[in-house]
């Protein structure tokens, strides 16, 4: 078991191997083999994550830093003293992320075998998914910000590839998909700029990028506390032993044994023995804050606290990009253009939580940067309510879920803002379960709708060879059928019972109904916000509390609206009437995730609630995370808040049922009941138009940018640079010089010389050719003449000697 952490490179390598196999051999292997390889690679990663978890709980949650045998010195600049190793960190936080990523990811891999069946690029899809695993696991296992950045960019790449996976759809769908991919890429670049700036600042400030150096204790407070407890226990035991009739040498033996133990392994409970510059960034932060520190920027220097605020703000910018917060959340709804398993895995469960993970990982920074914390809380809460509001007005089943995801990510970010890091992680875990469930459920619905559509329109010749996701089976059809539009659904409860029940569980979990997972995690965030306001005089806490409460109301409302539109009522189209239940390979992951959504909340049940803590333990996730998250703390259960939030959710559900239920899901053809009521119509259309957010961006940034680009391209580059500069100055100058060189120089001197030589050769050849008579005897005479001359020359010394 001690060797388990050495397996951590494999968690990255196995999906990499799976990716390579599927990429190069996939098209020849066939769907079945590709699916098995991809899922097995994911499953093996999950197995390793479980092994690492087992290691941690059996070794006092001690973090382990692993240097893979290769890539040991990743980036080394000896002159600059820079040494960034490729180190992988196994601690409670990273293992939590690994478990979520690989666990949910494995289920989604299995689901995708069924969902992507028949796709011409099946193997490529699975190799992308495995590649995503590689980068996501690099992101969470890295021990420094640079590895995090590598993973961060890698998952961004995979996200781009998978959003635009169906780039070749017809009827403009392909354009939409690829534009969505580009949008995600570009918007994320803005966030990546922030992250890069933060990394540069960190490196400048601390001289390292490591979270914690090997051997450093991540949470010295906790370690000392535990040491004290152990000591107290020991003393208590010793006190008990004094009363007992103990023999003298027995006590001696104990002390001797202790002394030996102490001599053998010096157990540190803090990092005081490590020099400041050899600590990781977080350890250094605490030292700097204790001792006071100015960061030298050359011409000027800033107090360390200010630098910390800058770092955290830049990081926040990165997080708003990756985790889809205001102002950069606009890419995530469009990202639903990708296949549904991708939406579930990347754009709901794992990748978008990378920003939250980063902020939780950097909790030491955020905890000590109050200004940033306030901003974070406001952004998170604002995102939660804005996205929740927009979700009310959407028709696309996946788009609703996308805004829901943004909203829930807002909850997590707000939790970070109010200092509830463990609550953020808790919500991250539970949200991964039920949002993956909801997405996969919606995928199942879409799948069923497409089947139903084919079935309804292919009475005569049912084409069974495969079900293309593209609706281009009927090119003569005027209006493409949208399998994702909830207006086309309804009454699917009876057609797809398993999907319905699992979806219901997911909805209730998301809405925060007791005892589903969402109830516990959302309640913890609300309670933490309230407590932060109450005890820390944190204004942001109050604001966040209020906004999140409202967002929770919206959540329950739009989710139940969706339930009514999709599953209840009567089928509104032939496709909905004929939609079949999905294959077992898709339903099994749904059932597993439904179970997790039901029970996931009990991993962190608060103390003293209905005796649940005796059954599941109290604050287990918090205590688990405490070993790597310094500022994690367990919040007390706030019964009024919990009851209030629960009541609010129930009211929202009842309200939605009243509005959309009983066959009133759509009125006046296909309009929302809220849209027809004059008092709610403007609000609803605002939500339907997504608050004109994209349009505002277009006005503010894209339009001016396009005009500037056009000016630069047309006027500056083309008119001035090409037409004027190139033509007038370069072109004419060149022509002038060319003319000069051509006429007098080339024709006169160069050609004249060459032609002159030619004429000379011609003339002399004409004279010389008469020598070539062709008669051998004349040649022989010439040779003899030469021989005589040579002999004379050779024998000249003899003659001169004779003469002299």
């Amino acid at each position: 078991m001690e060797t388990f952490p050495q397996l951590v490179p494999l968690i990255v390598l196995i999906p990499l191997v799976g990716m390579l196999i599927n990429l190069f051999a996939g098209p020849r292997l066939g769907e079945r083999a590709v699916g098995i390889i991809g899922s097995t690679a994911a499953g093996l990663s999950f197995l390793i994550a479980v092994l690492l978890y087992l290691y941690l709980i059996n070794n006092d949650y001690q973090a382990v830093v692993v240097n893979p045998p290769f890539l040991n010195a990743w980036i080394t600049i000896p002159s600059g003293g820079t040494f960034i190793p490729w180190q992988m960190r196994v601690d409670t936080l990273s293992v939590t992320m690994m478990l979520v990523v690989t666990g949910v990811g494995t289920l989604i891999h299995i689901y995708a075998i069924g969902y992507m069946h028949g796709d011409p690029r099946f193997a490529r899809f699975f190799s992308y998914l495995n590649l995503f695993f590689v980068f996501m696991l690099v992101l969470v296992t890295g021990n420094n910000f640079l590895m995090m950045f590598v993973g961060w960019e890698g998952v961004g790449l995979c996200s781009y590839l998978l959003i635009g996976f169906w780039f070749d759809k017809t009827r403009g769908e392909g354009w939409k998909n690829s534009n969505a991919a580009r949008k995600a890429m570009i918007v994320n670049r803005i966030g990546d700029f922030g992250l890069l700036m933060a990394i540069f600042l960190i490196f400048w400030t601390f001289g390292t990028l490591d979270y914690f150096t090997p051997g450093e204790i991540a949470n010295p407070h906790l370690a000392e506390e535990l040491a004290h407890e152990a000591e107290a226990e020991h003393e208590a035991e010793a006190a008990g032993e004094i009363g007992a009739p103990a023999e003298g040498n027995a006590a001696e033996a104990v002390t001797e044994g202790e002394a030996e133990h102490a001599a053998a392994t010096v157990v540190y409970t803090n990092n005081d023995h490590i020099k400041t510059e050899q600590l990781g960034v977080f350890g250094q932060t605490e030292r700097f804050l204790e001792e006071g520190h100015d960061v030298d920027f050359g011409p000027f220097s800033l107090p360390f606290e200010t630098v910390l605020v800058l770092i955290t703000l830049f990081m926040l910018l990165g997080a708003t990009g990756k985790s889809a917060q205001i102002p950069l959340f606009i890419w995530l709804p469009d990202a639903m253009a990708g296949p549904t398993p991708v939406s579930a895995l990347i754009h709901a469960a794992t990748m978008v939580t990378a920003g939250v993970y980063m902020m939780v990982r950097s909790n030491v920074f955020y905890h000590n940067a109050e200004l940033t914390s306030l901003v974070v809380a406001l952004i998170g809460a604002g995102t939660a309510i804005v996205a929740g509001f927009i979700a009310i007005g959407q028709w696309d089943i996946k788009r609703v879920l996308a805004y829901s995801t943004i909203s829930q990510l807002g909850f997590m970010v707000a939790a970070v803002g109010v200092g509830a890091y463990s609550a953020a992680m808790f919500h991250l875990v539970t949200h991964a379960f039920f949002k993956a469930l909801l997405f996969l459920g919606s995928g199942s619905v879409i799948h069923g709708m497409e089947h139903g559509h084919h079935h309804a329109h292919d009475h005569a010749a049912h084409d069974d060879h495969g079900h293309m996701k593209q609706a281009d089976h009927h090119p003569d059809e005027d209006k493409p059928f949208d399998a994702q539009d909830m207006r086309n659904m309804g009454g699917l409860r009876h057609r797809m019972p398993v999907t319905f029940w699992t979806y219901l569980i997911g909805t209730l979990a998301l809405a925060g109904i007791f005892p589903f997972a969402g109830f516990w995690s959302k309640d913890e965030i609300l309670a933490d916000s309230w407590l932060a306001g109450l005890f820390d005089n944190n204004v942001g806490g109050y604001i966040a509390f209020a906004l999140l409460l409202a967002a929770a109301f919206f959540t329950a409302f739009y989710m139940w609206r969706q339930m009514e539109l999709v599953f209840f009522g009567q089928p509104r189209t032939a496709a909905a009437e004929h939609a079949p239940e999905s294959a077992p390979v898709m339903l099994v992951p749904l059932i597993v995730l439904a179970f997790l959504s039901l029970m996931g909340g009990f991993i962190n049940t608060p103390a003293n609630v209905l005796g649940l803590d005796t059954l599941f333990g109290a604050h287990r996730l918090t205590y688990f995370l405490e070993h790597s998250v310094v500022n994690a703390h367990a919040a007390e259960f706030q019964l009024p808040i919990a009851l209030g939030a629960l009541a609010l959710a129930v009211v929202a559900i009842l309200l939605a049922r009243a509005i959309y239920g009983a066959g009133h899901a759509l009125v006046e053809g296909s309009r929302d009941p809220l849209a027809v009521r004059p008092e709610t119509a403007p609000v609803w259309s605002l939500a339907n138009a997504r608050l004109y957010w994209d349009e505002t961006y277009y006005r503010l940034f894209e339009g001016p940018f396009n005009r500037l680009s056009r000016f630069l391209a047309d006027t500056l580059d083309w008119s001035f640079w090409h037409d004027y500069f190139h033509n007038v100055i370069i072109g004419k100058g060149f022509n002038g010089i060319g003319q000069l060189l051509a006429r007098p120089v080339d024709l006169g001197i160069v050609d004249g010389a060459v032609n002159g030589i030619g004429r000379l050769a011609r003339w002399s050849a004409g004279r010389l050719r008469t020598v070539q008579t062709g008669y051998v005897r004349t040649y022989a005479v010439t040779v003899l003449l030469g021989v005589v001359l040579v002999v004379v020359l050779l024998l000249l010394p003899l003659f001169t000697r004779a003469g002299g």
Binding site: G172, G174, W175, K176, N179, A180, K183, D334, W395, D396, D694, Y775, R777, T778, V781, L784, L785, V787, V788, V791, V792, L795, L798, F799, R801, A802
Partner: protein, 448 residues
């Protein structure tokens, strides 16, 4: 006028006359016959110049084979007579004559001015080798003129021949004079600087064609060493024989007997008798593979006292064209007594006989040693010439070949391209080929 000068003049006049007649003769067959006479004269001159081998080749190959070939071709082609001389190059004959005469005059002057015969004949510096027959000295170092020629030469062994620096030859008007030159031979015990013996030698270079080789036999004891000079006769003998020279390096005079019959003592032949210490004798040429097992060295005058029998046919053997020096010496054997004992032993020192000058033997030896590679190349050349002659005289070699009249006419490039793509690339009136227009898909805005 001596005989050979008379012969030279006669033969020379015949050769030149034959050459002139060859030139003047109108009939090609006559010319060829005159040329044969000329070649015969030259062959005779070769003989006078000590080149009998070349004489035979000249007659057999040149005057024989090659001229037969000429005659054959002349007769074959019927080209013995030429038609009317062309009137084209009247200036050629006088110019040629003038140039040829100029050439002759120049070379003659050069030859006379060069005084070839007064350049001095070739001299042969003496070559020397040393045999270690010192009774009790063991291995020795041999120095010649202070230069070590043999390190640690063991008893009974001889050094290679060392060509000594030539002695100066003063030649005045054909008179050959050689004053000789003094060389110093020094023999040290092996690895030491103490000279056992230093002996001056006076040797001369030779101007005749005789081999100028000597052997120094170092004999005696290390306390009283002696060096005896033996002149080596390395001339080849008559057919299938070898030379044998005896040298007595023993302390007492010896006889060499040939005990031809084991039974009858009267048949025994004394090869040499009473060979004094430090003296040698050259025997008459002995046929090769003569059985020397019956030969034995005896005390002088007492043929019963056999000192050493030459009964090892592997060692004591007469080989063809070999000049062997047999040194009879005493070897000191440490037998436990204070003085030790002296064991008589015959030491054979062989050397190859030199080849004769100008004969087939010498020519063959040179051709198969020094000129091996040129001979090979000549063989290849002859082979090529053979093939070339066959090819050249082959009837069809110079027949005009049938030409493929229908040359391929270059196609226009567009025709070639359209043949590749299967459709017309160029539409009439169109200047450049274009791809078919694509369906333009305009980007659609994202969203509902």
């Amino acid at each position: 006028m001596t005989m050979d000068v008379a012969l030279f003049i006669t033969v020379g006049v015949v050769a030149v006359a034959a050459a002139v007649m060859m030139l003047l003769s109108e009939n090609a067959v006559h010319s060829a016959l005159f040329l044969i006479i000329n070649f015969m004269g030259v062959a005779f001159l070769y003989l006078m110049l000590d080149a009998p081998f070349l004489t035979m080749i000249q007659i057999a190959v040149y005057a024989g084979a090659i001229m037969v070939l000429f005659l054959f071709v002349i007769m074959l082609l019927g080209a013995e007579k030429l038609g009317e001389p062309t009137r084209q190059f009247r200036w050629l004959a006088p110019v040629s004559l003038a140039l040829a005469l100029a050439f002759l005059v120049i070379t003659s002057i050069a030859i006379i001015q060069g005084r070839i015969d007064l350049q001095g004949p070739a001299t042969q510096p003496p070559a020397l080798r040393v045999v270690n027959a010192l009774t009790d000295a063991g291995a020795v170092d041999v120095y010649l003129n202070g230069e070590r020629v043999a390190p640690a030469l063991p008893f009974g062994e001889a050094t290679e021949y060392t060509v000594l620096p030539a002695a100066a030859v003063v030649a005045v008007d054909g008179a050959e004079a050689d004053t000789g030159r003094e060389y110093t031979l020094t023999i040290n015990a092996a690895g030491t600087d103490t000279a056992l013996m230093t002996s001056p030698l006076v040797l001369a270079s030779r101007t005749d064609r005789q081999i100028n080789a000597y052997t120094v036999v170092a004999h005696g004891t290390s306390s009283a060493p002696q060096a005896s000079l033996v002149s080596d006769n390395l001339e080849t003998t008559d057919n299938r024989a070898g030379r044998l020279t005896l040298f007595n390096a023993f302390e007492r005079p010896v006889d060499l007997w040939n005990f031809r019959s084991e039974t009858n003592p009267d048949d025994d032949v004394a090869v040499t008798t009473d060979l004094a210490p430090g003296s040698g004798v050259e025997l008459a040429a002995i046929p090769e593979n003569t059985d020397l097992r019956a030969w034995a060295f005896t005390e002088a005058g007492n043929k019963e006292a056999v000192l050493f029998r030459l009964n090892n046919p592997e060692v004591y053997r007469i080989r063809r064209d070999e000049a062997q020096l047999l040194v009879f010496a005493g070897e000191h054997i440490a037998d436990g007594t204070e003085q030790g004992s002296i064991r008589p032993v015959a030491l054979p020192v062989a050397s190859r006989a030199a080849a004769d000058f100008g004969g087939p033997h010498g020519a063959g030896e040179l051709l198969f040693t020094r000129y091996m590679l040129p001979v090979q190349l000549l063989a290849v050349l002859l082979l090529v010439a053979m093939i070339g002659a066959i090819v050249l005289t082959h009837k069809e070699t110079f027949q005009p070949r049938r030409r493929d009249v229908r040359r391929r006419v270059a196609q226009p490039l567009t025709t070639a391209i359209s043949a590749q793509v299967g459709q017309d690339v160029l539409q009439p009136g169109e200047e450049t080929p274009r791809l078919p227009p694509q369906e333009d898909e305009q980007p659609q805005p994202v969203g509902d």
